[in-house]
């Protein structure tokens, strides 16, 4: 599986970890962001819809991985993001960093997820449960993912 993915399919931790295999790297940090069922205004997010400017988003993820490897001396860097509908509890994003030392892996992974959130053209739209959704009234944002 490639280390850069923008996919409608489910994201799983184990294959992400497998991609970070590198004999020189004793420290691996994985970050997973998943959809939270935040309550607000008595309602609940049941899913998020993610959309991306696909071509630019893939380019951005490649650049972030390359910069992450260079800046933090990572042996391997991984950035996976869902597109389309993502249900509560499912993983929307996985970022992984493998490095010889744990400090690099932690700092690299943190930098890459921060960078992804601010620089990669991906958007989420929150969907409230149909039964509680007021008709034709766009409500306030009701859920968050990944903190």
């Amino acid at each position: 599986m490639p280390r850069i993915r923008l996919t409608h399919g489910r994201l799983e931790i184990a294959p992400a970890y497998a991609e970070l295999d590198d004999p020189a790297c004793g420290g691996v940090v994985l970050f997973a962001g998943r959809v939270r069922p935040d309550r607000q205004a008595g309602s609940r997010v049941v899913r998020l819809d993610y959309e991306a400017d696909r071509k630019l988003a893939l380019r951005s993820l490649e650049e972030i991985a390359a910069s992450g490897r260079r800046r933090f001396g990572l042996g391997k860097a991984l950035l996976w993001h869902r597109t389309g509908p993502v249900r509560v509890g499912e993983v929307s994003v996985i970022v992984g960093a493998a490095a010889p030392h744990r400090a690099q892996a932690f700092r690299g992974a943190r930098w890459m997820i921060d960078r992804l959130k601010s620089q990669t053209p991906i958007w989420k739209t929150e969907r409230a449960p149909p039964e509680r959704r007021p008709p034709r009234r766009p409500g306030p944002r009701r859920g968050r993912s990944a903190g």
Binding site: D53, K55, L56, V93, I113, K117, S118, P121, W123, A146
Partner: protein, 85 residues
């Protein structure tokens, strides 16, 4: 040469317009991005607020200036603030 500029709209920009792409007719001398956005804001008032905080991609490259000159066949993507993760 007269023709159209394609505008590709994402997320809240798409919601403000009601669809994901627009083909705007332009004259033979082309149009500045700022003027195009002004025109769209008149047609779709809800788009104004989104455009004020958006980034723009012209033919696949981010543009840093709204003075960029567009000609027929160009494509502009409107990127509201990102919210991936």
């Amino acid at each position: 040469m007269a023709g159209t500029v394609r505008i590709v709209l994402f997320a809240t920009a798409r919601e403000a317009v009601g669809r994901g792409r627009l083909d705007e007719a332009i004259g033979p001398s082309g149009i500045e991005l700022a003027a195009l956005l002004e025109r769209l804001g008149t047609e779709y008032p809800r788009l104004r607020r989104v455009v004020a905080v958006s980034r723009f991609v012209v033919n696949g490259a981010y543009t840093t200036s709204r003075d960029v000159h567009l000609k027929a066949g160009d494509e502009v993507a409107v990127h509201p603030p990102y919210s991936g993760g």
